[in-house]
Subunit: 331 residues, 2 copies
C-alpha cells in the first residue's frame, strides 16, 4: 500500500447553494456481492456479509472530486477512472452541488475478483457523498449515480450494484425503468466464496459471452431462475439443488478459469446446494445450508484449487440484508 | 357432430394378467390449461376451471385401443392419431395389460385452440384407462404416457399436460428427469381466455419460433419468469404487472393471429395485469385481479377481435387446483 496523502482540511465555508461546511467527513460502507447466482446472468445478485469497501468522503475547498487514497496500488488516482470518484461526481452533478469532495477508499474486496468490488466502491462513494451533501438524492438516484461508474468500468448491469446498495437477494427485472424485486432470505443460507489468485477483468469476462443462445438454452435458463425464486420463497433450501445451473455464462467462462471445474465439483461433493462462477469471476461461489457445511465446502474448494496448482482464499458469508450504510459522520 | 356408434358391451371376462372385467366403465375429466403464461415458453402452465375434456373408457373383448367417439368431426377415429387413444395405448403398454379399451371422448375444449385441448384429451385418456386397470401406474407414469401423445401431436413439452394432470400453476424445470414446481395460487387470480374462430395447429405455431435468441432477450425473459414466480409467492397480484412479457414466442406468432394485438391492448386498457398468447394460440389470455374486472376484460377482448373482423368467444376461469379426476366408475 502507498502512504496515503495527508487529507486536506479547511474550515473555510465553501461557496455553494447548500449549507455545507468544508471539513465535514462521512465514512460509508458497502458490502461485497455475488452476481448471477448461477443462471441469473445480470438479473440475480445478493449482498454478502463480512467484507466490503469503505469510502471516506470529505468536503474540500476546491470543486470536483479528488481521490486522496485509491484503496489499492493498482487503482487509479484519476477521479475519471476510479469507481468511487465517478459515482461521487455523478452525485454532485445530480444534486447540482458546487462543492468539492476528497475521497479515501479502503478496499476490503479483491480487485477484479467477481465479488462486486467495483460496485461496492461506487455505491459507497455515492452514499458517502450524498450524505455529505445532506441526502439530496433518493436511493434510486444513488443507484443510477453508481451505475455511471459501473457502466464505464464493468458494463451496464446492476446485479452487484443493487445488492451493494439495498442488501438482500435481488431479482433485477429491468434497469430502465428501474424494477428490482427483493427475494426472501432463507435463514440458513450461506454463501461460500473461493477467490483464486488471478485477475479476470469484468470486461474480459463479458467479452466471451455468446451474443445469441439457442432457444432450448434460453428456456432452461429461465426455468432455473424461476426455480431459484421458488426455492427462496419456499424457504426449503433443498429446492435450490439443481437450480444453480448456468448454461450461458459458465460454459463460456469456465475455460478462462483454471481450477474452477475442480472447485465446483469439490463443492458439490462436499454438500453444496449449487456452485458456479461468482459474477464474471474469477471467484467461484457455492450456496450451502448452514454454517458447518459452509466451512466444509469452503475448505474443499480451496483444496481443489490447490490440487490444480491455484492458490485460493475462501470465505463464508451470510446474506447482508442491510446493504450500504453510513459508518461515521462528523462535522 | 356425428352420431356416436353404439358402445360394444360384453360380459365375457377378458384373458388378461389382471382381474378386470369387460364392460367396466370409467369416465375421467381433465381441465383445459394455458401454457407459457407469457414468458414461460414451455415452462409455465396452469390448469383452468370451467371447461375440459371427458374420456369414457370401457373394457372390451378385443385387445388394443379403439376410438368409438373421437369427440369432434375433425378428430380421427384412428387410435394411432387420437391423443386419448395414444395415451391409453401407452398406459396399457406400461402396465403390461393385455386388455382392450374402447374410448369415447367428449371435447369441451376447442381443437387447436391453445387451451390445452390435446393435453386434456391425452391426460383424461390415460387416467381413465389406468383406473380401468386398477391404477397400476403412478401419476408420474401417467404424465409420461400422455407425453407420448403430446409429443406426437404437438411437441415434447408438458406445460399443458402437467397442469391438466396435476392442476394448479406449475413451473416445469425439466422433463427428464421430471421436475415440476407447484407455485402458489393467489386467491383472486382470474384467467380470461378469448378464442378467435380460427385454427392454429401447435406444430405450425412452433415452426415460427426462432431457433436462437439474442442474449439480452434470453436474460429479459428469464427475469420475467422470475418476476412471475415472485409475484405468485408474494400473493400481490399487482406485481404481475409488466411480468407477462414474452419476447420470444409472442413476437414470432403475433403476425399469425389477426386481432391478437388489438385484443391484448384492449385487455390491458381494461385493467388486465398482463396478456399474451395462450400456448401456441390462437387463443389469447389475460391475467386479471378479481371476478368483476375479469368479465370486463373478457368483454373488451371479444369486442376488440370483433372490431378487427374476427369472431371470438371469451371465458373467465379460476385456476383449477385439482387437475384430472375420475368422474364416474362402474363395473
Amino acid at each position: 500500500m502507498r502512504t496515503p496523502p495527508t487529507p486536506q482540511r479547511s474550515s473555510t465555508p465553501v461557496t455553494s447553494s447548500r449549507a455545507v461546511e468544508t471539513g465535514r467527513v462521512v465514512r460509508a460502507f458497502a458490502p461485497g456481492s455475488t452476481g448471477n447466482i448461477g443462471p441469473g446472468l445480470d438479473i440475480l445478485g445478493c449482498a454478502l456479509s463480512g467484507s466490503g469497501d469503505v469510502v471516506r468522503a470529505q468536503l474540500i475547498a476546491e470543486s470536483g472530486v479528488r481521490v486522496d487514497e485509491p484503496g489499492h496500488p493498482d487503482l487509479p488516482r484519476d477521479p475519471a477512472r476510479h469507481a468511487s470518484a465517478i459515482a461521487a461526481s455523478e452525485v454532485l452533478r445530480r444534486a447540482g452541488a458546487q462543492v468539492g469532495v476528497a475521497l479515501s477508499i479502503e478496499k476490503g474486496l479483491p480487485l477484479s475478483g467477481g465479488q462486486g468490488g467495483s460496485a461496492a466502491s461506487a455505491v459507497a462513494g455515492a452514499l458517502a457523498t450524498n450524505k455529505l451533501l445532506g441526502d439530496p438524492l433518493t436511493q434510486r438516484e444513488l443507484l443510477l449515480a453508481a451505475l455511471v461508474a459501473e457502466e464505464q468500468l464493468a458494463g451496464r448491469h446492476i446485479d452487484n450494484l443493487a445488492p451493494a446498495l439495498f442488501g438482500g437477494i435481488l431479482l433485477i427485472r429491468s434497469i430502465d425503468p428501474l424494477d428490482v424485486v427483493r427475494l426472501p432470505v432463507p435463514r440458513n443460507l450461506r454463501v461460500v466464496l473461493a477467490h483464486p489468485q488471478m485477475l479476470l477483468r469484468t470486461t474480459d469476462a463479458r467479452a466471451v459471452l455468446p451474443a445469441t443462445v439457442d432457444r432450448a438454452t434460453a428456456i432452461a435458463q429461465a426455468a432455473a431462475v424461476g426455480a431459484i425464486v421458488a426455492a427462496l420463497y419456499s424457504g426449503d433450501l433443498s429446492r435450490l439443488s439443481g437450480a444453480i445451473e448456468d448454461r450461458i455464462a459458465e460454459p463460456a467462462r469456465a475455460s478462462l478459469l483454471p481450477g474452477f471445474a475442480a472447485a465446483k465439483a469439490a463443492a458439490l461433493a462436499a454438500g453444496a446446494l449449487g456452485s458456479s462462477i461468482s459474477g464474471g469471476g474469477p471467484s467461484a461461489f457455492a450456496l450451502v445450508d448452514g454454517d458447518a457445511d459452509a466451512i466444509t465446502v469452503m475448505e474443499a474448494m480451496v483444496s481443489a484449487y490447490a490440487t490444480e496448482g491455484v492458490v485460493a482464499t475462501g470465505r463464508v458469508a451470510r446474506i447482508d440484508e442491510i446493504g450500504a450504510r453510513i459508518e461515521e459522520e462528523r462535522a
